[in-house]
């Protein structure tokens, strides 16, 4: 039973965008802070810290999650994709370019989360209907652009 004795922190091994990181973390550290502060991957944002806004969304072993709603210690052994992993070399990928072309961002605060939600959706449904797109980004709040252009951008990639 010694293996299950509670610990205040531990060394975790996490793969992020293909790179493996090993870090010592406190048990109370949220995954979003691990990504931003320990790994310096500041693309994922903190909007609400309560699971409501989606700005911190990342792919976690392939599924979309809000990284403010997980502990870093839970992610030991997991593979994570963040917005930093989307570009292909120096080129923004099709989805990122579509966001630009359709004016799907103004301040850009929600954009990293929107892009990850859209990425998850397009992997599952390469040609989503408008309704499926709206459902797919339901957990992501945009406070300045509005959703019409965001939906258009995603639709253009899935056309």
């Amino acid at each position: 039973m010694a293996a299950t004795a509670p610990v205040g922190g531990k060394t975790v091994t996490v793969r992020v965008n293909g790179t493996t990181y090993e870090r010592e973390v406190e048990a109370r550290r949220l995954l979003i802070h691990f990504l931003r502060d320990d790994l310096d991957l500041t693309g994922s944002h903190v909007g609400c810290d309560t699971g409501n806004c989606g700005a911190c969304s990342v792919l976690y072993d392939g599924t979309l999650v809000k990284s403010c709603m997980l502990l870093a210690v839970q992610a030991d052994g997991a593979s994570i994709e963040t917005v930093e992993g989307l570009a292909e070399g120096d080129e923004l990928n099709d989805l990122q370019q579509a966001f630009g072309a359709h004016h799907a961002l103004q301040c850009g605060y929600c954009t990293p989360g929107m892009l990850m939600s859209a990425t998850a959706l397009l992997r599952e449904k390469p040609h989503p209907t408008e309704d499926e797109i709206r459902k797919g980004i339901q957990g992501n709040i945009c406070r300045c652009t509005g959703y019409v252009n965001i939906v258009e951008a995603i639709k253009s990639v899935g056309a």
Binding site: M1, T4, P6, V7, E26, R28, G51, V65, L71, S117
Partner: protein, 269 residues
Amino acid sequence: MLLPEVGYARPSTVDEAVHVLASHDGARPLAGGQTILNVMKSRAAAPDVLVDLQDLDELRGIELAADGTLVLGAMATYSEVIASAEARARPILGEVCAQIADVQVRNRGTVGGNICSNDPTNHLPPLLVALGTTMTIASSAGERTVPAEEFFVGVYATAAGPGELLTKISIPAGKGDGFAAVTIGKDGTCIVSAAASLDGDAPRVVVGCVHGVPVLVRPDGADEEAVRRAVRGANLEPPSDVHASADYRRHLAEVVAARAVQRARTRRS
């Protein structure tokens, strides 16, 4: 946000998990984390130890027994229930799971966590009472089963007490079920919810958000007036808040109960 300091354990069997839970007073299971982490952020509670259930494969399955009973492991996520062919044996389950929050929350949130948190606004407590569900609870003393009506004991409180783990949720076969709710925005938090099942001898109608635990009423018929009369007869004393006054919630309770029964009737025929 910085959480209060907390210990962390990641057992790999149910036996190990109940052992850690029993040996630390302030230990709490960590399922999908979609409630408990927010509770810790707001300092509403500060468990000493979080017991991460993610490696407990015993809690993961969604299986259909030979007699048609659907057995969900406590760690089945909403997304897994929605995608499961077995869970379609009781279609209302996937339908209601698909109305909870958003993709991200559905990918992490678990059926076990939903009912163990027993937030009166949660979708699944009234539904599981309506479906005549049985919960299996493990502790270092062994296993026991508790019917859903007895599982919910108060706001945020269930029969799964300290040192215990909900392991299985067993739902009998059936299809004449309905659910209705008035929510804050589409797929938002419930202001009042109701679930109904017409499979037994008399309708089972359960109202949520009006009391610390789901309220079961047994109308003497499945017509609208009988359902409304039964809900009125329950003399509900719902809370008042910014979303609805107590009077309005009492009114909504009748409306959503009647809608849930109507949907169950359509489903049954």
